[in-house]
Symmetry: C2
Subunit: 966 residues, 2 copies
């Protein structure tokens, strides 16, 4: 017989479903209430809880925590459950259906936690099984209604210990968005608000939180200690950001300091040692009784550097050591005499990083006794790329390692705080790297205002909770994760086809943000015409926007707010801003050419600007202002690292020429001409130099608002134009795209044709150059790239061979294709991710085949994920080998590369590192092998061209060129 | 008793005023008819002419030409006149009142010409005395009505021989303007049209014409030979442009060539010697009977180079010599066996110039026997700056020299064909230089379509006719000329005050065009904010535009067309285009800062664009379409040397920021800030570092369309702001200029103050640095420039001393200030203009006094009229001396300078040459002496600054800085 819950049972006023013990943690009972509310949402009737076994119905839910639950004890003693499976484990629960736990109850679902959080996760597991989203409270996700729920009578499930010990998020940069939101909805940064945040965290299987701290005092504003008390009640481990030691939050000192303060009036451990020490001591006394990860170390106020510019490295290290010794002593005195039992954390962030590593002359803090049990928190570069990771010898550090990751950042080169712009494949790639490198004790992610980050945050915490399922071995599983996530939120709301649309939307908008975050967009990012990268991105955006609108019209009223906040607003908000900038690029370009089309684009840009304001307005008003404030961050046209001085796009207008002038341009290129008598009137249509291209196009556009006619002729019968004559009025009709089709079979050995466009003012000739696929090319193996138009562009996954290698222990080293990881297609990355490989020995390689016309010096430009070196040495090597030449070991980073320099800044904004290296090719077929050397090498694309003959500039790089077997 | 004409006499049907002989040249009689028509305009009654002495009244006009007039012969025999004064002279007339020439006539005005043109000029002299403008026919200028005209009874005036032998203009680049005009009004390039052109030429005292030739065939389209016959009848000497030899016009060969043509089918003297020779021969046979200056030499068709690129210099010279020998022989055979009596001209233009000079290895054509009596025509650089001039040894060339000057040009770097943009002081400076250098036989000026060029063309021809009056000795007389010219056109039309307005308009718009021609304007010329050069130029333009509108409203209907075509259209047309570009500079600059003001400017730009079209439209329709076509030349936004691809300005619009943001900018500088917390919020008001400045300003401007408030405070009582608080709405009110006044007396030793502007978003601090005039400065002599703000800028005329020198013959060499000649004030130039001076010996010098704070290396930047070297050596030297250091002889042109290179191109567009030289200054007072060396050195401005501390960029250069005794 199954364990059953149905509407009838719940509607039976005489019986209760949940057995509630007074011995249970109060927080556990509160969570049980939330689960009971989940049941109400599912069944339409609220279950009841009782402390009286007699009041229970035939089916009952018995929950409790090992050592805090007489009923569990009793069941264990009756051998109905075996607590040994979970006892002593971390955050584990037993989820078992048993028969007849005691009289009157036929079937019981036992949820037994190894500890408080184990029980809570177990309780929420029931909600999950009922189809309740972890976002049920936070985003108001409504579960699908059920009449009956059953669990197999022999169900016994023991959860795993979470992969990462402390897993959580950081509410940061809380003004203007989160701050206005909580002020309006809760009246402050208080427990009423944190109630929801804690619930969100726990339902997402997190256990750790850094609270808002730029203007808020977590331990004072609950009111009083209520925030901290509530966290403790729920088993939420509190942390504080990297620069807030000893359970004191950033704003506290500002609030308490003063001439007459016992804490003195200087955030300076040298000049105000006593005051600062007392400040820390009182913090620990106050909050040490709760579960915390205590930050140690010290930075300047408001996250600035701690000592003056003149201090030496040794000065700084000594200072920091002194600070930590003092803090350790205080923690022993007031929190736990056994320091190893008091979780502590030191952030190796910003200036602290050099103090940790030291230099040749000055030993750093690495290996210092003071830090033995301290979690060393590493960090990304604030833009989603990890920085230094523990070297092999560092990995046995007893305290373990943490990672501070960013989905939101307030800082250089440009902040991004408005909306989610993180892309799951990258989060996977980077965080699995962290885990592989032994960063397993603490994962914290900066989610800014939380709102719109629900999707990647879910992923981050699921990855941290169950690395076995989603981690390194789960290559290319983020799509699966995304579909599961969509099902959790929209299971009963949308059809499968519509959920697939949501899948496209979420992966689509984040991929476009992966290519460039919306705050980082400007008019000069994408090239307005080259390779049509702007037009193609616009097409993709319009496709996604249309899907979003379709669903917007379909979704029912009850689910509107959920759809809007989780999908529509972040997707449309992001895409609209991206679109606006792409249109601005086209507008500015066309305006400079005098095209009347520019005026139409100007109106479209203004529509996007209006749309942006409307979207925020709508976000702020739906659901009775539930999200009010969350859209307030500036997000257009940053000119500084922060919003200061940000600018809307400059919209350009043209005034019509006073003759009926037209201009012809070759699509995808900057070539254009009005066909004047004395200047350039010949342009080149080179698309057909790719043997696989059958259609190309050019555009005729108005420069005036006068009717202007054109005639198109060609002497080549093998060329067909979609129009042979027509006219533009420059008002309604400002351009005409002329499609040119080629009949290669009819060319009879010709290699060049021409098209003449006669216009009211001027005559333009398009020279059409053609390459035919040659019969002998079929002798080349598939994936042989042939240079037919001056360069070769290869998506990294289109190698001819992917060759594994064995390391000295006989294990395999290999490349994996990371699908959809690249800006234009995928990435390829070598595994194991922690290894340094030696080309020719244990390094796998990718082999590319390229055919070039001449023996010559070529450049090969590698496009790579902008990884930072995992060692503190500024290098990232790979190997390049052409034909039988020896393998060149090249550092793909510029000399002296460091995070925060200009190369780095361009890398994080562009989300690419490019490196050019010279190779010598022979005429005809060449093989090019790429070997990984340093960890972090992820190759996306290769572009090969004759020395000095760089292809036209673009943001995404030239699209892939022709290859055999395409 | 006086010679009298009055209405009564003219109204008397029984008597005639003019005595007309059948022996007179028919052209002279026709001109007399025009003069009689002038009288009708003046008196309201048409005078009559008669061949019958009996029909004459008491007063009669007797005109004739020596040797072609029985009556003159008779009067001379009667000793009433003395023809010896004029006989044998060139274009001279006697204008004398005599008593009783014969029975019945009491008083006669005798107009006796030494030759046909002498008589014509004499006849028109009567019109001039009657107050009839030379533009009476061409521009429809209506003379003031008179009732009575009298000449003193003892009047006897003998005109001078014109200073320059052949004086005329060239109708060129006749499409689209002149071509459409003549097609519509006359149906072709025919005698009906030339009738007016010849009359214009003769009334302006010219005698020489190059007809339209790009699409017209002067000798064919009269119809037939009528154009040439009419010219000959009027005594107009016909020439042809530099590339049309032997009385054949450019289009003729195109028209006559062909496979079966007797002239062959190649414009090539090598491959088609016979055909070309016949072509020339027939040209000479046809037109040699008329008065001509026959072009010799040969260029390629359509003004291109003659031989291929591979031809050597020697090849080219030999070819050209062969051509000229052939042509000379043809002229001897068919025009005049005495070559010295057949005026011939060879243009030393474009490629022919090197063939004339040759090089070290190859002697050029200079001194060749073939050229002995040939006028060698030199030319300007097409932009109003002369090129090489005859060296002293060349000046005795028997044929003499000519000058081809441009008021209109179709060619590089950018054409100017739309409207007059020539500035009389420059025409004076350049053409007097030509005359001084011995260029006195032929002056021809390219006037494009003639229309709008009437003002400078009058000047050019008056200068050529009477160099004694207007030439080298008439320094700074162009204003006087302008006033006289205005009186001639508007004598009875406008009041003196209004005529002064016209004076301001004519000098004003041409000065602005002197600074930059309208066709050469673009958005990047004037700096949009630095030194307020844009705003100040806009103010000047608006002042002039207002004057033009005032007069527009005042002028009566009858004179409207004259005012419109001679003043309003060229002035307003030019100024409107200039204004449009200046506004575009501001618009683009403001838009990039996000200022809402940009949107207002955008509307103003559009208004200018509309105005431009309306003006042309009006020009084309007034006076029944009299000027139809004359405004058709493109004139906005050239991107090539010709109009091809020209672009209207790109108008930029901003979208309001979504917060009430303001920005503060220091007027005249690029400094601006929104007063953000993290970025630059301090700017500097440095105007008061000039001790003579009492008021400065900054501007607060809206970045949004939201009401935004500001408060202005200062702790310094000696600073007063024009407002202390206010608000902008960003829609109606988008900016506020805050005037800051300083009370230097109240400063009590302070040297720096500050002003704080608190705004809705941000707080900006303006640091106000102040320099006080120091007591000891009064010890410096007047015109001592003191560096109080990092640089010194001196208008060249503000020297401390202007020192003359004596040459070895004891004659004085000296500097003259050329008033209003400079882009910002005047120019200074050394005289005699033909001399090379030796500094320290015979060179005059200008001494400037400058006080600098430190002993240091300084740069002195000389701003000079963009003169080309008068010798073919690419150099232009001057001397610079600091204190007692030795004089440096510096070439102010870049090494290898040549006309047509980039430096030259920038020079003609900017109308300035700048040269920077390093000098060493001591702290305190320094003297800087500038010596002329090469001819053509005209200094406008000096800017002095510490090495590496160049003042902010601008088009006009930094305005003059503080000096003692200002």
């Amino acid at each position: 017989m199954d364990f059953i819950i149905n509407q009838e049972m719940l509607n039976d006023a005489s019986s209760s479903l949940f057995y509630q013990e007074k011995e249970a943690f109060s927080g556990v009972n509160k969570i049980a209430q939330k689960v009971m509310h989940d049941l109400e949402l599912v069944f339409g009737y609220a279950p009841k809880a009782t402390a009286d076994r007699q009041s229970l119905g035939k089916c009952a839910v018995l929950y409790g925590t090992v050592a805090h639950s007489p009923v569990l004890q009793e069941l264990a003693e009756k051998r109905l459950i075996d607590l040994a499976w979970i006892t002593g484990k971390r955050e584990v629960y037993l989820f078992q259906v048993i028969d007849h736990p005691f009289a009157g109850v036929e079937k019981a679902l036992v949820i037994a936690g190894s500890d408080k959080r184990g029980t809570i996760y177990g309780l929420f597991h029931l909600s999950e099984l009922l189809g309740v989203s972890p976002l049920v409270d936070w985003s108001g996700v409504k579960p699908e209604r059920k009449e009956l729920f059953s669990l197999s009578g022999d169900l016994k499930y023991i959860s795993k210990e979470p992969s990462v010990r402390f897993r959580g998020f950081f509410i940061n940069d809380e003004w203007p968005a989160f701050g206005n939101w909580t002020m309006k909805n809760f009246g402050g940064f208080n427990a009423k608000m944190y109630e929801h945040v804690f619930e969100l965290l726990l339902r997402l299987k997190g256990n750790y939180l850094w609270p808002a701290m730029w203007s808020a005092r977590f331990s004072d504003e609950g009111p009083g200690l209520q925030n901290a008390e509530l966290a403790d009640e729920y088993g939420v481990v509190m942390g504080a950001s990297h620069h807030e030691p000893c359970l004191r939050y950033g704003e506290e000192y500002k609030y308490l300091r003063g001439k007459d303060s016992i804490y003195g009036d200087a955030w300076n451990f040298q000049t105000n040692r006593e005051g600062i020490t007392t400040f820390w001591e009182d913090g620990l006394k106050r909050s040490g009784k709760f579960e915390n990860v205590i930050t140690v170390g010290m930075r300047g106020e408001q996250d600035t550097s701690i000592m003056g510019k003149d201090a030496t490295l040794a000065d700084n290290i000594a200072y920091l050591k002194d600070v930590i010794q003092t803090q350790n002593q205080l923690i022993q005195d007031h929190v736990n005499p056994n320091l190893s039992e008091a979780p502590r954390m030191l952030a190796l962030y910003k200036e602290v990083e050099p103090f940790f590593y030291g230099d040749e002359d000055t030993p750093g803090l690495m290996g210092a006794e003071e830090l033995r049990d301290v979690i060393l928190m590493l960090c990304d570069d604030n833009h989603g790329n990890l920085r230094t990771l523990p070297t092999e010898e560092m990995r046995d550090h007893k305290g373990g390692y943490g990672m501070y990751y960013h989905f939101d950042y307030h800082g250089g080169p440009i902040s991004y705080e408005w909306i989610n712009s993180s892309y799951l494949p990258k989060v996977w790639e980077q965080m699995t790297l962290a885990y592989d490198f032994g960063v397993r004790d603490l994962w914290i992610v900066n989610v800014g205002d939380i709102a719109t980050q629900e999707f990647p945050l879910s992923y981050f915490l699921d990855l941290a909770y169950d690395f076995e399922k989603w981690g390194t071995n789960a290559v290319n599983k983020t799509d699966m994760y995304t579909r599961e996530w969509i099902n959790r939120q929209f299971g009963g709301i949308f059809s499968d086809a519509d959920k697939e649309k949501i899948f496209e939307l979420l992966t689509g908008y984040t991929k476009i943000a992966h290519n460039r975050r919306p705050e980082h967009m400007n008019v000069n990012v994408y090239h307005p015409v080259n390779y049509k990268e702007t037009d193609q991105t616009l097409q993709r955006i319009d496709y996604l926007l249309n899907s979003a609108e379709e669903l917007y019209k379909k979704v029912n009223k009850a689910d509107f707010s959920t759809y809007f906040s989780l999908v529509y607003y972040p997707a449309v908000g992001t895409l609209n801003v991206q679109k606006m900038w792409l249109l601005t690029g086209k507008n500015n370009y066309d305006a400079r050419l005098g095209k009347m089309e520019a005026n139409k684009l100007a109106e479209q840009i203004k529509a996007c600007l209006r749309r942006d304001q409307e979207l925020v307005e709508q976000y702020h008003t739906i659901d009775n202002g539930k999200w009010y404030g969350m859209g307030l961050s500036e997000h257009i046209g940053f000119v500084n690292w922060n919003e200061e001085g940000n600018k809307n796009p400059v919209v350009m207008n043209v005034w019509p020429a006073n003759k009926p002038r037209l201009v012809v341009s070759v699509d995808g290129t900057k070539q254009h001409t009005e066909g004047p008598a004395w200047h350039n009137n010949t342009i080149y249509l080179n698309d057909f130099m790719r043997p696989d291209i059958k259609e190309a196009s050019f555009t005729i556009a108005s420069l005036s608002d006068k009717k202007a006619e054109y005639n198109i002729t060609s002497n080549n019968t093998w060329l067909t134009c979609s129009k042979t004559s027509g006219s533009l009025d420059g008002v309604e009709k400002t351009k005409e795209v002329i499609h040119v089709n080629i009949d290669r079979g009819a060319m009879n050995g010709e290699t060049e044709g021409s098209i003449v466009v006669e216009m009211s003012v001027g005559t333009c000739t398009l020279i059409v150059k053609v390459t035919q696929a040659e019969a002998e090319w079929s002798a080349y193996p598939n994936k042989t790239f042939i240079d037919t138009n001056g360069y070769i562009s290869i998506e990294a996954e289109h190698y001819a061979f992917n060759k594994e290698a064995k390391n000295k222990d006989g294990n395999t080293n290999w490349f994996e294709v990371l699908e959809q990881y690249g800006k234009t297609l995928s990435g390829v990355k070598a595994f194991p991710t922690t290894d340094y490989f030696t080309p020719g020995e244990d390094a796998p390689y990718l082999e590319y085949h390229v055919v070039v016309p001449d023996a010559f010096d070529y450049e090969v430009e590698l496009y790579m994920q902008p990884s930072n070196p995992v060692r503190n040495d500024g290098t990232l090597f790979c190997g390049v080998q052409v034909n039988e030449d020896k393998i060149s070991k090249i550092n793909v980073l510029p000399d002296g590369y460091r995070v925060d320099d200009e190369n780095w800044a361009n890398g994080v904004l562009d989300n690419i590192h490019k490196h050019r290296t010279r190779i010598q090719c022979k005429a005809g077929l060449n093989t090019l092998r790429i070997y990984p050397i340093s960890p972090g090498f992820v190759l996306e694309k290769l572009v090969i061209y004759k020395e000095g003959k760089q292809p036209a500039t673009s943001y995404l790089g030239p699209p892939e060129t022709y290859y055999v077997g395409e």
